[in-house]
Symmetry: C2
DNA sequence: CCAGAATGAGACATCAACGTCTCATCTGAT
DNA sequence: ATCAGATGAGACGTTGATGTCTCATTCTGG
């Protein structure tokens, strides 16, 4: 059943995003199955990691799609993107920390595409005069990923309430920490 | 000699900040010494990790001191802090990713103190009306660390020029991505 | 109720990293 | 030149995680 794979992947993300070096015992226990069954579903640790990474990238790509980041006002598009991606923030945190995944050419290419889409959003926003041009689109994109990952960790550790996460992320990334003097 | 320890620690940070699971072989090679000598300097892997963490925290504490974050305008204080901490951004990236260090009570306490100081800066800024109050001081502090770590990785990987890093970090964290309409 | 499949528990071998050791070589001071 | 100390290279046993196996138990469909 696909449900098994998915639920195991979900549990694996929960453990691996926090501790990428977690043992298979721990992952299996978190998934509520035995280590033997885990091996029956995934040939080995490497395959499991790859699957988790691929799932994360697919979900991230789906979030980019549903947010329609290529359309309309860039600021609104970025807010939609944040709303769409925050539920999978833990997954993004895992992707950010696991650079070993990028050894795989297929995963690497999928990542490059999504990264380029995000960078394209910031670039479009800059060209339309919505985003600041003193900061490079590459850096804005980088900061976006850093903060998404940070939200994922903070929520997992209970330092940030899930219902506040999207708002906090959007407001900080868009508006910064300084209070607006005139608005 | 103290120089040996320091240079080895420096090299270890460079490797470990990017891959916390790097083998001792790799660390020794990065430091230009043999694994045997590495063992002569540090009793084992755990001791090395602890030393790297402690060094990072000491340097971070020193950056907080030199920036005098408890004094004067919070915005200027934050800019000073960023200037002071950016040279050790890779070290902070390591600290951010290595939550295993927090098992050590001594290191954990040192970390708590520094974290509280940063949070205190944001809180002070909010009370003075400089920083936004819609975002919690805890989240602002969290975002600060996330972005510092992000800068560390980006510089290490060549995605961000070191001379731009402090400016990029300060402008994004303080001003956000949106272009100011009226200023 | 029964047969077959799926699962859990655990044993077992394998392998990689770690920690310790020895020995040859190199360096530097006298 | 010589000797003491430091270093590099590598061997060796230990440890822990992994991958594979078997067997008893449980679940499921007929």
């Amino acid at each position: 059943m696909a449900t098994d794979r998915d639920s195991v992947l979900e549990a694996a993300v929960g453990v691996l995003s926090r501790r990428p070096t977690a043992h298979l015992d721990e992952i299996a226990r978190a998934a509520g199955i035995s280590r033997a069954t885990l091996h029956r579903i995934f040939p080995g640790r490497e395959a499991l990691i790859r699957e988790v990474g691929a799932t994360g990238l697919r979900r991230f790509a789906a979030a980019l799609d549903t947010a329609e980041i290529e359309t309309g006002d860039p600021e609104a598009a970025l807010r939609r993107l944040i709303e769409a991606v925050v539920p999978d923030a833990a997954l993004c945190a895992f992707l950010a920390g696991e650079n070993q995944l990028y050894d795989d050419p297929e995963i690497n290419e999928l990542w490059e595409v999504q990264d380029a889409r995000v960078r394209g959003l910031f670039l479009r926003g800059q060209q339309l005069g919505v985003f600041r041009i003193e900061l490079s689109a590459g850096w804005l994109s980088e900061a976006f990923f850093d903060l998404v990952a940070g939200v994922g960790w903070a929520v997992q550790d209970g330092r940030l309430a899930p219902r506040d996460s999207a708002f906090s992320l959007a407001e900080l990334l868009l508006g910064g920490a300084l209070r607006r003097k005139s608005e």
